[in-house]
Amino acid sequence: MSIRSRIFGVIGGVVVAAFLQTFVVIYLEGQRTKMTADLDRTLLQFENHNRLTRLVTELESAHRGYLLSGAPESRIEFEQLWSVYERTVTLLPQYVDDRDVQRRLRELDALVRDWHDTVAVPLIEAGREASDLAGTLLRESLPRMRAIRNDLDRLDIVVRDRLTNERQQASTQYLRITLVTLAIPALAIVMLLVLVAILARILLDPLAAVAQSARLISGGDFDVTLPEPRRDEIGALVRAFEDMSSAVQRRQRDLTDALSREREVSTMYATLRSKAEHEHARLLATISTVPAALVIYDAATGRIVLQNKAAESLIGQEPEDEAARQEHWQRYVATYRDGTACPREDWGPGRALRGEVVVGQELIVNHPDGRMIPILVSAAPLVNDQQQITGAVAAFQDITKLHEVDRLKSEFVSVVSHELRTPLTSIKGALQLLLDEIELPDPDHATLMGVALSNTDRLIRIINDILDISKIEAGKLELKVKVHEPKDLVRQSVESVAPIAEANGVALEPVVPADLPSVLVDSDRTIQAMVNLLSNALKYAPPKTAVTLEGSKLDDGFVQFAVIDHGPGIPPDKLDLLFQKFQQVDGPDTRRFRGTGLGLAITKALIEMQGGEVGVRSELGRGSVFTITVPVADAPVCPPS
């Protein structure tokens, strides 16, 4: 049931009760009025009765007086009293409602009239002469009078009783009315209290509980006990409040979660940030410490955004002003090692900003202070998540000292090699001349002399290789490039290794098509390259197999010479290393075939210096094919003079 209907019910009840009380009061008031009227009437009756009694007494007294005195005044008085009596008796019954009293009055009246008619009047008529008679009558009048008095007394008692009774009733009734009248406000107060209590119970308590809960919730305490939900507005309120509370709690929880997540994130962010800052500081410290000049460029402007001390001492501080900046950079002129100019956009950083990774670009920078500084430039683009180039990082390494060391090394190697070669030349010459001059009787001696000579040759070859490679590395190897016939080069190469082939029991098969064009090469160096390849092939070729040197024309203006063997082949993982210095397919510990490991490196360098290429393909167990290419001569060969 809803509170509204309850309240209306209670108020309706109160209104009805108030009406009822009013009716009760009105009724009681009517009763009281009636009772007062009764009492008044009884009092009047009582007074009339007294009056009647007095009249009777006075009447008798006047009668007696007349009789005794015979004075006419007494007789007039008697007759006047009598008329008063008659009037009074006539009037009296209308004030009397009690039948018993009326009856008594009538009886009394009869007695009085009887006395009057039979005693009093005859006595008066008789006058003084009949005094004896009168005495007799007097004697008769007295008992009658006594009876009348008795009646009057009894009536008096009745009326008195009745008055007393009525008075008692009236006072009781007053008391009752007073009590009832007093009870009404008391009842009203009680009803009000009950109403308040009911209202409090059904309205205020749950509201207070909800308010208390609201206070607790606003303080963050969601562990509240709400009144049991009822099926009324308060119930609806409680349920709504519960919903709100749980919604708030949910929000609060969400908010707390979100806050804690955010706190977590911000903590993580702070940690990452400090880590990043730490890393950044470390990186900056590292960058500033490394001896190489490190520079970071911005892709949008091409400007330097970060550089270390080494970079600043090498390329100075880039000016802010664009014109000054251009001027600044114009003072730095760079050339490649061969002396050709390198425009600034082709410097490592410039290429890196175009997305290229530059490793070991050698430049010679003409520094504004007059120095010629050889630098090694490495640069790489900086790419963001969207694969866009945002900048470039570049390292400039001043390799002046490196060049100096390299030069000293080359010089040292050169000097040492010369110093080694001079005595070796003497030994070789001496042995050659000796072997040519004399006949050794003991064949073993001749063999020993041969061993000495061949090892001298090998030592000279090794030293020559070392000299060659040091020259190549120093850029001091000079080529005598002329037009040559491939068949001549092949013939000379084959001739120089023929003794080895013969000694190893391997067939040498030169294949030179007649239509091969002339080539533009340094013949000595090309032959050296071919001999290197042939020597290697012969070294690894099993006996009774063939090593082929095959010339062929390529489409791109080159002639290729391929050295084909049927040896053990080369593992694929070693192929890339073959043309590097000091590399042999066998490791240093398991070298079956001795050598410096320089031959192929020299071959590659010699061929590449002439514009050609070297290549190799191999299959384990099937053999290897080494190729070199040399450029075709544009001009026809002049006939030998």
Binding site: T425, S426, G429
Partner: protein, 120 residues
């Protein structure tokens, strides 16, 4: 045929002398350029073999002086040099040298190489 051989390294000088003698040359050997200039008038060789690098006076300077003196400028000069480099050879030829033989030379073919150069 008489050759004046200038080589500062005694062993190499000996080998060269023996190799040339074996090839039929008459060889007068000296240790440096100063000696060459001192002996050249007296010996009147058919050709002079000069080591490129020698103490006191190197082959280059010796050659320059020989060619500068009308009395000796006609005598062919052959360089013995380890620096078989185009630039060196070109320099030698520019001085009026007849040719270059690379060191280390082959003792068995040295004589033939000298003959080949002189025949050009």
């Amino acid at each position: 045929m008489k050759l004046l051989l200038a080589e500062d390294e005694p062993d190499v000088q000996l080998i060269a002398r023996l190799a040339l003698k074996k090839a039929g040359f008459q060889v007068v050997s000296v240790g440096n350029g100063v000696e060459v200039l001192a002996r050249v008038i007296e010996e009147r060789p058919d050709a002079i073999l000069l080591d490129w690098m020698m103490p006191d006076m190197d082959g280059f300077e010796t050659c320059r002086r020989l060619k500068a003196d009308p009395a000796t400028s006609a005598i062919p000069v052959i360089f013995l040099t380890a620096k078989v480099q185009e630039s060196e050879v070109a320099k030698a030829l520019a001085l009026g040298a007849a040719g270059c033989i690379g060191k280390p030379f082959d003792a068995l073919t040295l004589g033939q190489q000298v003959k080949a150069i002189l025949q050009q």
